[in-house]
Amino acid sequence: MNVTVLLFASYADALGARSLDLDVRDGATVAELLDGISARAGTGRLPPSPLVAVNQRYAKPDQALARGDEVAILPPVAGG
């Protein structure tokens, strides 16, 4: 399935884009998605294990993705 991964702040700057499109197997986990991102050219400036949000909640590596999920990788947060 196709997953659009939202990028923000320093990650968006590092990749020069606000999102990445990836193909992963149906039901892929967050960990598999991160492997897919690492395999992509130009992603070397991202950390190996960024925070991931799925449908606007923090997600653990073993969480399975479904078609249509809103997925984002998040730099260390710095609000306040």
Binding site: F8, S10, A53, K60, P76, G79, G80
Partner: protein, 147 residues
């Protein structure tokens, strides 16, 4: 109980008024502001950006947790996004409760959880013309890590 992200200046005194009540014996206001020095560097301003939908959702979850943990029914949390000048408020928490301990505990809980969990980022502008994204893991007062 409400949470908001604002693209225009925050108004701390208005939020203080908003939560005030004759049923409250204690009202607490916390205001985070842009300061002139961070980690020893002269700062001239900060750009705040957010994953807005998730930031709002997370802020709403935090205010709901504060209600559940401390019994506060009157709490407002607002965070600014955009480019802020020195002294501008980046975050305001206003909370009122019959007693002082839950009001103070709730204010502290909300600012700590916000710094730990809410997807907001800041890029500091320095007096030497450079700009840098802030990673709280490198700071003297770290924000912690999620999850």
């Amino acid at each position: 109980m409400r949470a908001a992200l604002r693209h225009e200046p925050l108004r701390p005194a208005a939020l203080l008024e908003e939560v005030s009540s004759v049923s409250a014996g204690a009202t607490v206001l916390f205001v985070g502001t842009v300061r002139d020095v961070n980690e020893g560097r002269a700062v001239t301003g900060i750009e705040y950006s957010a994953y807005e939908a998730m930031a709002l959702a997370e802020m709403a979850r935090i205010t709901e947790e504060a209600r559940s943990h401390f019994g506060v029914e009157r709490l407002v949390l607002e965070h600014r996004v955009g480019t802020l000048a020195l002294g501008d408020a980046s975050v305001v928490i206003a909370v009122a409760h019959a007693h002082r301990a839950p009001a103070l505990d709730a204010a502290r809980y909300v600012i700590e959880e916000l710094k730990r969990r809410v997807p907001v980022w800041k890029r500091e502008h320095y007096a030497d013309g450079t700009r840098e994204w802030v990673d709280p893991a490198n700071a003297a007062e770290p924000a912690g890590h999620v999850p």
